[in-house]
Structure formats: structure tokens, C-alpha cells
Symmetry: D2
Subunit: 105 residues, 4 copies
């Protein structure tokens, strides 16, 4: 089962700057061989369910290992059985209905 996930990991009690932790998670995703696209409020990831969720678990382990005692993550998780759809397909599908004038990925 393929999945598209939007992952936002918030380490708690590590100060106000979260980008080192997000960067560490980007590396986890990339080392897992998964496609990840960073945006202003998270990272979109696509792949096989088990591989994607193994990477999410690894992100929690890595961020705890960096010193965060508590993590609050939010995810959007999309699956479909009617057809195969990539992250790019999703964006293009919306842009196609707008005449292409949208800033986007």
C-alpha cells in the first residue's frame, strides 16, 4: 500500500529554534531512500507504507537522541486504491484547474 504523508515534528523543550531537528529528519527520510519535499510547515513523503512509517519512527528516535525529552508530531496520511497518484500529481491536478498561475512545488 502506497502512502503520501505530511510530517511535522515539533520537539518540545529544546528552545525556540527547531530547524536542526527538522534537518535531521530530512536526512533520515533521504537515507531511507524516500522522496521527501520540504515545505514551510512540514515535509511531504511518499512511498510504501512500511518504509514511510519506519522513517517516521526513526525520526522520533533521532530527535529524542538529539536531546528532546518530548515530541509532538502531526501527520496527514493519504492512501487510495482507485489509482496511483504521486505528490506531484496532486499539485499539478490543482494547478491545472487554475491556469498554472499558482506558486507551488
Amino acid at each position: 500500500m502506497n502512502v503520501i504523508v505530511d510530517l511535522c515534528i515539533i520537539p518540545i523543550s529544546v528552545g525556540v529554534s527547531l530547524s536542526p531537528y527538522v534537518a535531521a529528519c530530512e536526512k533520515v527520510i533521504s537515507q531511507a531512500g524516500l522522496k521527501g519535499v520540504l515545505h514551510a510547515n512540514g515535509t511531504n513523503i511518499e512511498g510504501e507504507w512500511d518504509a514511510v512509517f519506519a522513517a517516521v519512527k526513526r525520526c522520533h528516535e533521532v530527535v529524542h537522541g538529539m536531546g528532546a525529552p518530548r515530541i509532538s508530531t502531526t501527520m496527514r496520511v493519504g492512501t487510495r486504491t482507485d489509482r496511483i497518484q504521486t505528490m506531484e500529481d496532486k499539485v499539478k491536478s490543482v494547478q491545472g484547474k487554475l491556469g498554472g498561475a499558482v506558486e507551488g512545488v
Copy 2:
């Protein structure tokens, strides 16, 4: 690694009533031996990471099997390494700061 998850599964293109799908997911959670607490916008689940996420995957499989061609799920995922905290602890911790007068779980 223990985790507390807030799971909200939205089957798409199955009509306006989603409760049969949510009920099926409640059964998946309970059959997995996990503690689940239903609320108006999702289900809180606590347990070992792998068991909880296996149940989430099973929910997607079951809801697709019931005929939903597309699912959009949202999750809040909390882990902490500083101490053990249950779902009940979280609610009580807030209520203790309010004088107990809050309607809640």
C-alpha cells in the same frame, strides 16, 4: 518506545456518514489489545509504537476493504523520554490546574 496517538480517519467518496468506518476502526484498535478512547474528532490510542502503528495500517486496510477508494487520515503523535505518561495522566494534569470543574474524559 511508548506513544500516544490521536487518530482521525476520513474515508472519501463514501457519502456523508462516516460512523460505520470509525466504528470498524474502533474494533481494529480493540482487537489489537490497545486502549482506545473515542472523542468527537478522533480516537486517542496509547501503546507500544509498533503495535499502535500496525493498528493504524490495519484501519486503512479495513476501511479500503469496506469500499472507500480514498482515505485522508490525520494523526497527532506524542512520545516522551523524560517520564511515562498515560492518556489519563494528560487529562488529569490539566484538570488539576482548573479545580476539577472541566467536562472531560
Copy 3:
């Protein structure tokens, strides 16, 4: 337009204990005359759109006023035009399909 919201406010860089901030938000919701139901991962609120979102804004102002330099909130926001549905209706609708044996609100 009536709305049911699931609100989870995470103050960042205030330490590991978030319950004082959540309790302050409970008071904001209650002082706004809104029905709020606390659960382990957020607070469900129902009411008229403008009143609910004014309370959410007030929560951000109050939590910043308590010293949080940064806040990361997540919300689920549900509206429907086909019929009136309360938070209790949503829970009962699922429980009715389970034979009533679910722990819940």
C-alpha cells in the same frame, strides 16, 4: 455557520510541562461561553464559527502573554450544511454501531 473544532495548542520553548497553558485555554473557551470537552490530545469545541475562532485567537494571545515565544497549534475543523450535529451526536453515532461497549466521552 456552526463548527466543531478540535484544538491542540503546543507552546514551544516553555519547558516540558504544557498543562498550565492548556488550562489557561480551557478558561478562555469557558469564558467565551463555548462548550469545550477536554481529551488527551486536545479540546473539542462547538459553536458559531466566529465565536469559536475568536476564542482560538484569544488562546494564542493568552499563551504568548504567559511567556511562550512560539506556538504551534493544530486544529481539525468540521462544518456541515446537511444537518445539525453536536459533538455528542458524533460520539453516539459511532457508539451506536458498536453495541455501546466503547469507553468514550
Copy 4:
């Protein structure tokens, strides 16, 4: 108070294709004079709190007006008082810690 929002609107019971509704919301955001950046799982928006949330309300009204009887929206809502930060700043801050090799906005 400035805010960065990640908005994902899911119309329920309108079939499997949601892009016409997302495109309509893109127009709402753009007509409100707000900066919106579409990604595979939502749209990031930045602006003054009241303007951003007025646009979110307008999106619900427009999507209901297009025939959706029920909408399930999720939002991430970020505010900070320590400094001004744009959506671009957030992405660059992570990319700067990665050596620039990340695909992103």
C-alpha cells in the same frame, strides 16, 4: 499578530476528486491578497491573523456553495512573538542546515 497556517480542506461526499475544491480555495486566498503556497498536502498561507482566518471561513463557505454537504479541514497554525519569520525563512532555515541539497519550495 502574524500567522503562518497550513490549510488542508477535505470536502466529504463529493466523490474522489478534490482538486476543483482546492483550486477554488486557492482563488479565495489569492483574492484576499494573501500569500499562499500550494503543496502536495495543503496550502501554506501567511498574513495577519484576522485576514487569514477570514479567508479560511470563506473557503468553507465557497466549498459548501459548490455542493459539499460536509467539510473536514485540518490546520497547522504557527505564531511567534520573538521575531518575524516568513514561510520562506522557515524553509531556508532547514535547508541551511542541510547544505542546500534538499528539494523544497
